[in-house]
Amino acid sequence: MAQINMLGVSKRFGDLEVISDTTLEIKDGEFTVFVGPSGCGKSTLLRLLAGLDDLTSGEINLNKQRIDHLAPAKRGLAMVFQSYALYPHMTVYQNMSYALKVAKEQKTIIDEKVKKTAEILQLSEYLDRKPKELSGGQRQRVAIGRAIVREPKVFLFDEPLSNLDAKLRVQMRIELTKLHKKLKTTMIYVTHDQVEAMTMADKIVVINNGRVEQVGAPLELYRRPANQFVAGFIGSPAMNFFSGVIKDVTATGVHFDINNSGTSIFVKCPGADVSIGEKIQFGIRPEHFVFTKKTDQIVSGEVYAVERLGGETYIYMSSETEDNVIVHCNGDREVKIGEKIDVGFSIKDCHLFNSKGWAIR
């Protein structure tokens, strides 16, 4: 049982505030992913949890016990670093057993725990090897094994897959998800890769500029982003945005014009807090465009790049109002550069954001 509560946590380095007033609850057994662009503060938040950096203000509780004043090793957390941080002069066995040795655990117990963990992670035959004699994936498993033998209440992962090649990353992603199901321990995982976040998380915490933008289940963030940042960050390729102006607000929704196009759209959003003349952003995901005229709206544009992957096609075009519009379609679609195409979308797939970037619902 390990529930984490962060209350009003903030962190400053001199005048620079890297984490501001963050309140967050992570439930027992949950796989939570902190996601955000580089430098957004997600790793700092993890380091605050681990005790590697001190809070400027706020508190961190584990199972309702305050832990932010405790030394890192006393918090009952184990961390897997981006660089793996394996001790290069020690063998795999010594790396995995170091924490237990320091804790003066009995040799037979150390041996039992290390060997059992090595078996789970398929590392038994590498126990006598030094880290430099292992592949990236094996090193990664040793780093995870080192965390597992400590039997922590919470696992912290700091971008653990970013040093692996694309194929191994996918494989390790699945391994980690399986491991979570097996151990049923609370895990907090930091990544800038939203695909990792979407595929692994029970809950995603989107962070930007040291602030939590939205917390929710992966598909909840995808379907109902709270603001323009989350809408643009979650989903790959990123959502297309068009500028518009509110023309009318009714009891059932809003009418707006897409800038300079003469196109007027009505979106259902009863009780929307917007005013006539307000500038808005209208978003549509690349995968929500369709090649049919039987849709609510049409966007016309000229193709300037095409990525044909066989199973799917990405079309990059410039429309009358936006220079970069991305269209994703399943299957192979033969489109030529310079070709003029029309793509349609349903109003129900639209996302509207007010002048401050918050979703209009």
């Binding site: 090793a73 001790y87 290069p88 320091v102 804790a103 080192r146």
Partner: protein
């Protein structure tokens, strides 16, 4: 471009590059030959000849080496000086380099004013040995020296000794002065080595529950092995080439009673003459120089081999 002209252009580029590299390497190579290899070769040559003052006599083979190592009238001086050099090396390893390690570990934690401390510890390193020798000679003066004045002032009158005048205290005192002067150098080297260790490794050890002592012993110490290799070898070379400080503080005779005599001083006295050693004995002096070189060379090779074996790549 056809094949032959392509090859010609390629060869010309190669030749141009080799000429440029030769031009860059020539000055340092000439300096090395003139000031290192030629003197070494001539010392080796001089050591197998009999010398009458500065006039070369007959070829005597290993006779000069025998005199240094086996002649009962002379070899006491050699083994006494060798013992003192060994003592200096061991003491500096423990006192100077041990203190340097503690300083480096302290500075690596980046305490307030770390930069200031770095400068303070390093300042004596850039001072001339002559200045350090004379300054400490004055501090240690039994009558008006600062050290004894402080000892008397705090009531430790029995401790106020003629530090450089007693055979038991002269060498340890000079070792401490050397350690004071040089501690900044190994400290900076160790500090650089500690800074080279990825922060993640130290943090991982901290999360593993390691105490400061355990982290220093189990993680930092093994990973700073390359710096240790350099410092051990340099300390050995420095200890066996120790000349200026004992010369300035205790004179050419290794006073008192040869308690501060070093191989360097003995070589100088033998080769160039002194009050006690009499006239110049160039052949024997050269044999002594060759022996000193061999001791340093053999130790450096063995120590480097052993110490390099425990070095690990950090990534």
């Amino acid at each position: 471009m056809d094949n032959s002209s392509y090859r010609r252009a390629k060869n010309f580029r190669k030749l141009k590059r080799q000429l440029w590299l030769s031009f860059l390497l020539l000055p340092p190579a000439l300096i090395l030959i003139m000031f290192i290899f030629l003197p070494m070769a001539s010392a080796l040559l001089y050591s197998v000849y009999d010398w009458n003052g500065l006039i070369r006599g007959d070829f005597v083979g290993l006779e000069n080496f025998k005199k240094v190592l086996l002649d009962p009238e002379r070899n006491w001086f050699f083994f006494n000086a060798l013992k003192n050099n060994v003592l200096v090396f061991i003491s500096l390893m423990v006192i100077q380099n041990g203190t340097a390690l503690v300083i480096a570990l302290f500075l690596a934690r980046e305490p307030k004013g770390a930069r200031f401390y770095q400068v303070v510890f390093f300042i004596p390193v850039i001072l001339s040995t002559v200045i350090i020798g004379f300054q400490w000679k004055m501090f240690l003066n039994p009558v008006f020296g600062l050290i004894n004045k402080i000892l008397n002032a705090v009531g430790l009158n029995d401790w106020a000794l003629p530090w450089l005048g007693l055979p038991e205290t002269a060498l340890p005192t000079m070792i401490l002065v050397n350690a004071w002067a040089w501690v900044g150098f190994p400290a900076i080297v160790f500090l650089a080595a500690i800074h080279r260790i990825p922060r993640d490794l130290i943090e991982a050890a901290r999360l593993d529950g390691g105490s400061e002592w355990q982290i220093a012993k189990d993680i930092i110490w093994p990973l700073m092995a390359p710096a240790v290799t350099i410092i051990v070898v340099l300390t050995f070379i420095g200890s066996f080439n120790w000349f200026e400080l004992p010369y300035i503080m205790a004179g050419l005779e290794g006073s008192p009673a040869y308690s501060t005599d070093m191989l360097g001083l003995l070589f100088y006295r033998t080769a160039f003459g002194s009050i006690s050693a009499g006239g110049t004995e160039f052949g024997i002096g050269s044999a002594l120089a060759v022996i000193i070189f061999l001791v340093i060379f053999v130790f450096s090779i063995i120590a480097t081999k052993i110490l390099v074996a425990r070095e690990v790549e950090l990534n």
